[in-house]
C-alpha cells in the first residue's frame, strides 16, 4: 500500500522532517502524533502532493508517485478547518469529487444520499455549509473526502476545533466508518487521547524523526525516550544515579528513595539515568520504598491525585494529609529505565 521513504523537508532554514520512513498497510489506521510544529501536517501534505519534499519518495504499491499531481492521486484529505466550499450546498460539496470523476448525475445523487446517511446527516443536503455547526461541518468534510472512494484517507487534526464530548462521539463514528469500509488512513493529531482512540498503530514524531512506533498500548506502556514519556505523560520522570548491580537489575537512587530497576542497558556505578515511575498501581504502605512529602491532594473520578514536593504525582485510592510524609509501595513493573 502506501510507503514513505526517507522524506526530508526544511522550512525557512529549519529542518522540519529529517528522514521519515514508514508504511501503511491495507485497512490500517496509522496515527502521526507529535507536538505542534513537529512537521506532521507537512508530512501529510507531502503525501497528498500539496507540497514537495526536498528528498525522499512516496510510493503506492511499490510505484513511486512523488511526481503524480494531487488530483490524480486519489488520496482523500480532511482539513483541520474543513475547507468546505462556501458557494456550494452540503450535497454539492459531497458531490464535488464525484463530479470530477464525471459520474452520471443519478449515480452522484444516490451516492450523496448514501454518504449523508453514513455520517448521520440525512436531510442536510440542500443546506448551506455556513448554516452548519462545527460538528456537522466536520461530518460533511468527512463525507466529501469519502465520496470519491479514495485509496487512502488522511486527516489533518480533524477534531481540533471541537469540544470533548463531540470529539468522542465523532471519533467512535470515524472508527466505525474506517473499519467497515476498510480504508487505510493516516490521522494526524497532537492529542494522544484522540490518537489512542483511533489508531491501530501510533508513530511518535519528534525533531523531524519518528521517535517511536507501535500499538497505542505498547507506546504508552513502554516509551523509549524521556521525550516520549514526557509527551505522553506516561509517568513521573525521575533523575537517578546507579548505585550498584543486583541479581536481576540495578539499584538506583532517586529523590524519592532507592528503587530496583530491570533493564537491558549496561550501566556503571555512578551513572546518571532517567527513570519513568508509573503513577498508577501504587499504594500507600508504611514499608513502601518511595517516600515523599504531600503538597496537594485533588479529588478525581477514581481516587485522588497526590502531588509530592519534588513535582511528581501519583493516583492513590486514599487521600493523605497535605504536608504529611508518606511511604508508597511501587511494584517492580512500575519503574522503567529510559537511559
Amino acid at each position: 500500500m502506501l510507503e514513505v521513504r526517507d522524506i526530508h523537508k526544511s522550512y525557512e532554514g529549519q529542518v522540519l522532517l529529517n528522514g521519515i520512513s514508514f508504511a501503511v498497510q491495507a485497512g490500517e489506521t496509522v496515527c502521526l502524533l507529535g507536538a505542534s510544529g513537529s512537521g506532521k501536517s507537512t508530512l501529510l501534505r507531502i503525501i497528498a502532493g500539496l507540497e514537495e519534499a526536498e528528498s525522499g519518495q512516496v510510493l503506492w504499491d511499490g510505484a513511486d508517485i512523488s511526481f503524480v499531481p494531487t488530483h490524480a492521486r486519489n488520496f482523500g484529505l480532511v482539513f483541520q478547518d474543513y475547507a468546505l466550499f462556501p458557494h456550494y450546498t452540503v450535497a454539492e460539496n459531497i458531490a464535488f469529487g464525484l463530479r470530477m470523476q464525471k459520474l452520471p448525475r443519478a449515480e452522484i445523487r444516490s451516492r450523496v444520499e448514501e454518504l449523508l446517511a453514513t455520517v448521520n446527516l440525512v436531510g442536510f443536503g440542500p443546506r448551506r455549509v455556513s448554516e452548519l455547526s462545527g460538528g456537522e461541518q466536520q461530518r460533511v468534510a468527512l463525507a466529501r473526502a469519502l465520496a470519491p472512494q479514495p485509496r487512502l484517507l488522511m486527516f489533518d487534526e480533524p477534531l481540533g476545533a471541537l469540544d470533548r464530548t463531540l470529539k468522542d462521539n465523532l471519533l467512535e463514528e470515524l472508527r466505525r466508518i474506517l473499519h467497515t469500509r476498510h480504508i487505510p488512513a493516516i490521522y494526524v493529531t497532537h492529542d494522544q487521547e484522540e490518537a489512542f482512540a483511533i489508531a491501530d498503530r501510533v508513530l511518535l514524531l519528534h525533531a523531524g524523526q519518528i521517535e517511536q512506533e507501535g500499538t497505542p498500548a505498547e507506546v504508552y506502556a513502554r516509551p523509549v525516550s524521556v521525550w516520549a514519556a514526557r509527551f505522553l505523560g506516561a509517568g513521573n520522570i525521575l533523575d537517578a544515579k546507579v548505585v550498584r548491580k543486583k541479581a536481576k537489575g540495578w539499584e538506583m537512587q532517586t529523590v524519592l528513595g532507592n528503587v530496583e530497576v530491570t533493564c537491558g542497558h549496561t550501566h556503571r556505578e555512578g551513572d546518571r539515568v532517567n527513570l519513568m515511575v508509573s503513577r498508577r498501581g501504587v499504594r500507600l504502605e508504611p514499608s513502601g520504598n518511595l517516600r515523599g512529602v504531600v503538597t496537594d491532594v485533588l479529588f478525581q473520578q477514581n481516587g485522588y491525585k497526590v502531588n509530592l514536593e519534588d513535582g511528581s504525582f501519583f493516583y492513590l485510592e486514599k487521600a493523605p494529609q497535605i504536608g504529611q510524609e508518606i511511604y508508597l509501595h511501587l511494584p517492580p513493573s512500575g519503574v522503567q529505565c529510559l537511559a
Binding site: 499531481p69 478547518d81 464535488f96
Partner: protein
C-alpha cells in the same frame, strides 16, 4: 434613556444629587444629543436637497420629452456615456485583473512602491491627471516633442488628446487601483485550503479555476467592475479636458447645456437621467456587496517570489507595464513644467531650450493687462481660501453628526443614509442644482448667493461631508463606553469627558478628515466649473483655461499650476496615510 445615560445617572445620584435635577439633566442631555445632527441635516437640506428639488421641479415644469431635439441630445449623451463607461470598465479590468493577481500572489522588488504608485491617481484631481497625460502624450508633450525633434516633423505625430483613446486611458489610469484592491484582497484572502481540498478531490488546474476560484471571486469581480463603471459613468473633468466637448457624456452635456446654451430645462432633464442611472448602479453595487460571500482565510495567503520561468516572466512584464503606465504621466508633468521645449508665441530668432523656472514666475503676472484676466497666483489664493472654508464648515458640521451616529437612536439610523446621499449625486448635478436654487427667489434678489464666491466652498462641503463623517465615525466608535464611564466615575463632567477622553483619541482622525476635505476642495472641478464666479476662479479652473489656450507659455503655466496642485494633493494624501489609525479601512 440609553444604558449609558442610565449608568451615568446612577453615578450622579450616588454623588448625592436630588432625583429631580438628575431627571432634568438626563432630559437635557437627550435633547442636546438630538440637536447634534441638526446642523449637518439643515445644511444638507438647504444646499443639497433643495437644489435637487429645484432640478426635479424644473424638469417637471418643462416636459423635455415632447421636444424631439432635446430627446435626441439626451439619447445621444446617454448612449455615449454608457458606451465609454463600458469600454473603460472592460479595459480597466483587463489591466486590473492581472495586476491584482500580481499583487496578491507574488513578492518582488519595489512592490510596495508600485502599489502606492497605482493608488495615487485615484486621489489626484482630474485636472492634474489630464495635465499629466497632456505632458506625456499631448501635442506639446514629451513624446511628440521628442519624435518631432528626432524625425524633424512639423506636426505632432501622435494624436491622443482629443480622442476617445485619451479618455479611456485616463479612466484606466484612475480606476485600476479599485480592481487591484477589491479583487486583489479577495484573492489574497481566499482560503488556500479550499483549492487544496478541490485538488485532493480530483480537480485539475482548470477545474479548480472554473469550479472554485472563479465562482468565489465572481461577486468581487462584479463589485469591482460595477464600482469602476460607476466612476467612469460620472466622469466629467477627464472627458471635458482630455476629450473635448465633442465627447458629450451626460455630465459634459449638462455642463454645456447649462453654461454654453443656457438651456437649463434640458440640463435639468439630463441631470435627472444621470441621477437615476447612478442610483440604479449604486443600488446594484450595495446589493452585491451585501451578498458577498466571505470565504476568507484566517490570515492572508503568503506571497512568494515567482518561482517558475512563466511566473517570473509574468511578474517582470506586468510590473514594468504598470510602472511605465503610471510613472510616465506623473513624472512628465513636473518635468514639463520646468522645461522649455518650443518657441513661445510671437517669439522670433533663437529659441532657448532647456530648464526654466519662467512658467512659475509668470504665474504672478497679468501679462495682458486685462481687467477680466486673473493672474494664476490669484486662482491659487482663491482655491486655498475655499479649501480652508470647506475644512472649517465640513468639520463643524461633521463632528457633531459623527458623534450623533456613534450612539444611534431611531432617528440616527435614518440620518446615516441621508448624510451619505451626496456621494450618489455628481458634482455637475450639484452645481446645476446650485444655479437653479440660488438664482431664484428667495435667494436671487437682495441676498444673492449665486453671485457670491461662497457658493464654491458650500458645494465642496456637501461633497466632503460624507467622507468627513465616515472617517470620524469609526474613530469615535472605537472609544469603549467604559472609558467614558471610567472618566465619569472619576469625577469628570460630560464636557471634561469629551476633552479628556474623546478628543485626544479622535484628534488624528479629525486632522485626517480635515486634510481630506482640504484636498477634495483643492482639486474639485465639476461643481466649481458651474458655480465659480469668472472673477474668482479656482486653481483647477485656471488650469483648464490655460490648457485650452494656444501658446507655449500658457501651456507651460498650466503645467506649472498642475504641478503645484499635484504637490499639494500629494502632500495631503501622504498626511492622510500617516494619520490613518491602524486597522481602520480606507474610504
Amino acid at each position: 434613556m440609553s444604558k449609558v445615560e442610565a449608568q451615568k445617572t446612577d453615578v450622579i445620584s450616588d454623588a448625592g444629587l436630588s432625583g429631580r435635577s438628575i431627571r432634568l439633566r438626563a432630559r437635557r442631555s437627550r435633547h442636546f444629543r438630538g440637536l447634534l445632527w441638526l446642523p449637518a441635516l439643515s445644511f444638507l437640506a438647504l444646499f443639497f436637497f433643495y437644489p435637487l428639488a429645484r432640478i426635479l421641479g424644473l424638469s417637471l415644469e418643462i416636459p423635455a420629452l415632447s421636444d424631439a431635439q432635446a430627446l435626441r441630445v439626451m439619447a445621444r449623451a446617454l448612449t455615449f456615456t454608457l458606451y465609454q463607461a463600458t469600454l473603460s470598465t472592460l479595459l480597466t479590468l483587463a489591466l486590473g485583473l492581472p495586476a491584482a493577481f500580481l499583487f496578491a500572489r507574488f513578492t518582488f522588488k519595489g512592490k510596495a512602491f508600485l502599489r502606492t504608485l497605482t493608488a495615487i491617481p485615484f486621489m489626484l484631481p482630474t485636472v492634474v491627471v489630464a495635465s499629466g497625460f497632456n505632458a506625456w502624450l499631448g501635442p506639446r508633450g514629451w513624446l511628440n516633442m521628442l519624435l518631432m525633434a528626432i524625425f524633424r516633423l512639423s506636426a505632432p505625430p501622435i494624436t491622443l488628446v482629443g480622442t476617445l483613446g485619451a479618455i479611456l486611458a485616463a479612466h484606466v489610469f484612475y480606476n485600476t487601483t479599485i480592481v487591484i484592491r477589491v479583487v486583489g484582497n479577495a484573492l489574497s484572502l481566499l482560503n488556500p485550503r479550499l483549492e487544496q481540498a478541490a485538488r485532493t478531490l480530483g480537480a485539475n488546474r482548470q477545474q479548480v479555476f472554473w469550479q472554485l476560484t472563479l465562482p468565489l471571486l465572481r461577486p468581487y469581480l462584479l463589485a469591482a467592475g460595477l464600482l469602476v463603471f460607476l466612476f467612469d459613468f460620472t466622469s466629467f473633468g477627464v472627458i471635458l479636458i482630455l476629450g473635448g466637448p465633442q465627447f458629450a457624456t451626460l455630465e459634459v452635456e449638462i455642463y454645456l447645456q447649462a453654461m454654453h446654451y443656457f438651456n437649463l430645462p434640458l440640463a435639468a432633464w439630463l441631470s435627472l437621467v444621470q441621477l437615476l442611472c447612478t442610483l440604479i448602479f449604486s443600488a446594484l453595487y450595495s446589493h452585491l456587496i451585501r451578498r458577498t460571500l466571505v470565504a476568507a482565510a484566517p490570515r492572508p495567503v503568503e506571497t512568494t517570489s515567482p518561482r517558475s520561468w512563466r511566473a517570473r516572466l509574468f511578474t517582470i512584464l506586468m510590473a514594468c507595464l504598470l510602472f511605465a503606465f503610471y510613472l510616465l504621466p506623473l513624472a512628465s508633468l513636473p518635468l514639463r513644467s520646468l522645461t522649455r521645449l518650443e518657441a513661445e508665441r510671437g517669439q522670433r530668432g533663437e529659441v532657448q531650450y532647456g530648464l526654466t523656472t519662467r512658467y512659475y514666475t509668470e504665474l504672478f503676472f497679468n501679462r495682458r493687462g486685462s481687467v477680466f484676466y486673473i493672474p494664476p497666483v490669484q486662482a491659487l489664493g482663491n482655491s486655498l481660501g475655499y479649501a480652508a472654508l470647506t475644512v472649517i464648515l465640513s468639520l463643524a458640521l461633521g463632528i457633531p453628526a459623527a458623534l450623533a451616529l456613534t450612539r444611534p437612536g431611531r432617528l440616527e439610523y435614518l440620518l446615516d443614509p441621508l448624510l451619505m446621499l451626496p456621494l450618489g449625486a455628481s458634482a455637475v448635478t450639484l452645481g446645476l442644482g446650485f444655479i437653479l436654487a440660488f438664482n431664484a427667489p428667495p435667494f436671487s434678489s437682495e441676498f444673492s448667493l449665486l453671485t457670491s464666491p461662497l457658493l464654491v466652498p458650500l458645494a465642496h462641503t456637501i461633497i466632503a461631508l460624507p467622507f468627513v463623517v465616515r472617517s470620524l465615525q469609526p474613530a469615535l466608535a472605537s472609544i469603549p463606553v467604559s472609558l467614558r464611564q471610567a472618566a465619569a466615575t472619576l469625577g469628570a463632567s460630560p464636557v471634561r469627558v469629551w476633552r479628556e477622553v474623546d478628543w485626544p483619541i479622535i484628534r488624528r482622525a479629525t486632522l485626517s478628515a480635515g486634510v481630506f476635505a482640504f484636498t477634495v476642495s483643492m482639486g474639485e472641478f465639476g461643481a466649481a466649473s458651474l458655480v465659480a464666479r469668472p472673477e474668482y476662479p479656482t486653481l483647477p479652473l485656471a488650469i483648464y483655461r490655460f490648457l485650452s489656450q494656444p501658446g507655449g507659455l500658457n501651456y507651460g503655466q498650466a503645467m506649472a499650476m498642475s504641478t503645484i496642485l499635484m504637490l499639494v494633493t500629494g502632500l495631503g494624501i501622504l498626511l492622510i496615510e500617516k494619520l490613518r489609525l491602524p486597522g481602520t479601512t480606507e474610504f
